[in-house]
Subunit: 174 residues, 2 copies
DNA sequence: ATAATTAATCAGGTCTACCTGACAAAATGC
DNA sequence: GCATTTTGTCAGGTAGACCTGATTAATTAT
């Protein structure tokens, strides 16, 4: 398999890419922090940017976290003024979490750092890259599904699909 | 600029990509943890896989960390059996850190998770992807250099270049 | 030879992402 | 109407990635 060699080369460049992303954050003014985009508070923001006004239970299901963790992160985000919490009127046990204006701005800002380095690509390369990411992501969805026979994590995939189509649509409307 | 639309689309897919990487780790057996590849103990391993037998001071310079942090991470890695520490004979103040056999295996394993999803690409796409990553990485080197006028971080770039060419060579030799 | 610098250490701290266990207050099932 | 389930809270904990401050031991500079 000559494939292995090419895959190896590309793998090395991906490591390099990851490292550079980390470094770029370290000493750049914009603290949009790729590292935390998909964890903890960041995960919550991502989910809410898809579907606002979710209950904590919803977040627990979608993000595969314990209710306690979700509660903690939501509280921290509230402290930072990025989300607000209200009791549901129909079911007085549930707390509904929503993005504030600042929260919405923040999530948008967070996602927009990433493209900076995309300036280096011309239209054709961008198209190629797009195509490649589609294939890679599809493969990862499959891998995740296989790794998780309980299939319980379809929540993940649902959310992701929604988040991402939403983001794509938003950008299109620019 | 129609560019913006395409860049936006690609950006969305990159976010998706990042998220998937995180999820794939969460519920997969292999705890190779993309998140920690470039931080703390992971960073040290990466540096040592480039250049073994570095002093802690070397690591401090290359990784932009405080001596205390480096000492801590090295000690933890020693505890995990991945590195060993010896006093230099020429300068009895310095401690030389080296990868153990297990450490070397571990770093290799760590880098090899990443390509899993590359199976989804055929030869042509792999080539395209390679080319794209080169451009992106080059752009990021530039961005980092610009963001850091003190240029002090050339250590970073030096190390990275070395790490990555080394990795590439290793893979070629398979 | 003494002063200044260098490499590393110890002690202690902050912050984030998680987690478990115990529990209260609503909602629902029978 | 009471038992059970559901949603969320409080308290407390682990582990990792950092950091500052104070100190020691070895080296170099004058």
């Amino acid at each position: 398999m000559a494939d292995l060699i090419n895959q190896g080369k590309t793998a090395g460049k991906l490591v390099e890419f990851g490292m550079l992303q980390n470094i770029a954050e370290d000493d750049s003014q914009h603290k949009n922090d790729y590292k935390t985009l998909f964890q903890g508070q960041g995960k919550i923001l991502l989910a809410l940017s898809d579907n606002d006004d979710l209950s904590q239970k919803d977040l627990v299901d979608r993000l595969n976290m314990t209710p306690q963790s979700v509660a903690e992160f939501v509280r921290k985000l509230e402290g930072r003024g990025l989300v607000s919490r209200k009791k549901s009127t129909t079911d007085k046990r549930v707390t509904i979490v929503s993005l504030t204006k600042e929260g919405r701005l923040e999530t948008e800002k967070r996602m927009q750092v990433i493209p900076r380095f995309l300036r280096a690509l011309n239209d054709e390369e961008l198209l190629q890259f797009n195509n490649i990411l589609d294939k890679i992501n599809e493969q990862m969805y499959l891998d995740i599904k296989n790794a998780d026979p309980t299939l319980q994590n379809k929540y993940h995939q649902m959310m992701l699909n929604h988040v991402m189509t939403k983001i794509r649509d938003d950008k299109k409307e620019l």
